[in-house]
Amino acid sequence: MNSKQRWLAEDYRAAKARMPERDYPFRTLSDIPVDPVYTADDLEGFDAAAQLGMPGQYPFTRGVHASMYRSKLWTMRMFAGLGTAEQTNTRFRRLLEAGQTGLSTAFDLPTLMGYDSDHPLSLGEVGRCGVAISSLADMEVLFGGIDPETVTTSMTINSPANAIWAMYLVMAEKRGARLERLGGTIQNDILKEFIAQKEYIFPPRPSVDLVIDTFEWGPRNVPRWNFVSVSGYHIREAGSNAVQELAFTLADGIHYVRRALERGLDIDEFAPRISFFFNAHNDFFEEIAKLRAARRIWARQMRDVFGAKDPRSWMMRTHVQTAGVSLTAQQPLLNVARVAIQALGGVLAGTNSLHTDAYDEALALPTEESAMLALRTQQVIAYETGVASTADPLAGSWFVESLTNEMERQCLGYFERIDALGGVEAAIDAGFFAREIGDVSYAYQREVDAGERVIVGVNRFTSDFPEVPVQEIDPAVEQTQAERLSRVRAERDPAAAAAALDGLKQAAKDGVNTMPAFMEAARAWCTLGEQMDALREVYGVYEEPVLL
């Protein structure tokens, strides 16, 4: 019996007899039991050099840069998009004036699903949960007055990612920017769409082919661009726990690497530009452990399993967003506190970039005031708390290191289960992810409903609360979009547009890289819907089996 076990059996047991434990689930949100205390006994055989290294060194548990936030704070990148390109452009400029250091674009559902704003299925959805972008003309308005060579832009776009990226690049080119100087990110992670967010268009196989086209074309043409942001965020929002988020995201990343290698690409050419995106949820230490484990697992996979030689290929760079799913419509101002704590977790975990949710997002898109408050929350963490002064301040904590090890262990267990099913695409077909996430999310809701998990203001400490103002979307958005689309279709060279669409179809049929054809289509003013329709013809569309 080690000293911790002895203490638990004697002192702690006696203390508990005098004063019983509170009625509280002493388990993380991933159901990992949490002990009353952690000691060196929990880290027997722990080799700090091998498990942690130094900041900026393999396996990057402590962060990917040696100087971390002492040289450069994380990028404060607020996800924004609403209504028309004009309305969003105004929001972008206000955020930049307020000290934001990068842009992040939220698109509306028609754009995410590859429909033009004037398509019948778009009715009522245009500009509602993001900005509507149907053609190069919208893209030019969206980035009006913003220099693409100095501001990096992230775009949350997946199934139509190639087309939207091409529109952005052509917009920048037309304004005299050089592609090799452009920085930014396209999310372009289709696997998590099948697993969680469900904004897919084509079946998995050709969808992943489109992603790999960017792995090939990106580094050779836009070398500073992150052509994929492998995303656990949405997996978590769909109801998974932290371990599943970690495991499924890394499994997706590994799947892309395998598919890129199958195409004959050089790992050290594409791997340095793979980026990641995680959730920062309520369970503070578990979230920190998750990100530290993620960097370590990725580094080991890339170096030891895939044989990458360039240290940049081993580094997992991350964006983090606070947990939208944790926000409540009840007492919405409470969300300010949740967001601040979650964001602090993301910073202590060493994220490279951060979005903080606005307190009103359980009700509507954020207002300008609520988005500004969320940005200011990051600035308070950065400038007032001192947490950015030293790298990975929780390293060496017996608890945090134990939790990091445990998350790594459970993640590798999931890798084995996914491989046993034949890999990620086969596991999607088998409904594996839907079942795993559905079970956990339902069990969590039952715990909340039973009052075992307390949500302040929801199942404990409830009270009446005043309504908060919500963002409204200009109802003219559909009209504005329809008019701009008509103008684009009327003024372009119809032969050039038709030829570009044929070229895109041909590239898809021939199985050659589609990115040059997407660039041509953007230049020829083909609309997003036209481009996606061309590919729907070639690839077909995907419908998921209905599973409960």
């Binding site: 429909y115 769409e193 409540t328 359980a362």
Partner: protein, 136 residues
């Protein structure tokens, strides 16, 4: 149980382009565990598809889940669709990211309760039982 002693039949539907299905699935499973017969539509349903399913499946209530901001359009279309088909006795309720003011407007037009993030399963179950029992 409804008056006849048969389990309540409920359709949970996801209209439009929105793919966020955590809430819809959790509610569907919760209602099922509460003894109701639940039909889950799956994603990307149009209003006519939902109205058809509600009538064919002979449900007492339809729950729409919308997190995309397009709630006004879909609640209107389903409500009118049910009325046009002589199925106004079917309770239409829902959940999602819906501002209070929009929820009030919809309720004035004849839609039932709209549950927002943080709503508990027990609340939803009790609401459906009470409302369906009260209906003709």
């Amino acid at each position: 149980m409804s008056g006849s002693g048969q389990p309540l039949r409920i359709l949970i539907a996801k209209p439009g382009l929105d793919g966020h299905d955590r809430g819809a699935k959790v509610i569907a499973r919760g209602l099922r565990d509460a003894g109701m017969e639940v039909i889950y539509s799956g994603l990307r349903q149009t209003a006519p598809m939902i109205v058809n399913a509600a009538i064919q499946e002979d449900v007492q209530a339809v729950g729409l889940s919308v997190l995309s901001g397009a709630h006004m359009r879909y609640f209107h279309e389903v409500l009118h669709g049910l009325r046009e088909r002589g199925a106004a006795d079917i309770l239409l309720f829902g959940g999602g990211i819906v501002p209070d003011e929009d929820a009030r407007t919809l309720q004035e037009q004849g839609v039932g309760r709209i549950f927002t993030p943080g709503a508990s399963m027990d609340e939803v179950v009790a609401y459906i039982r009470d409302s369906v029992a009260d209906r003709p």
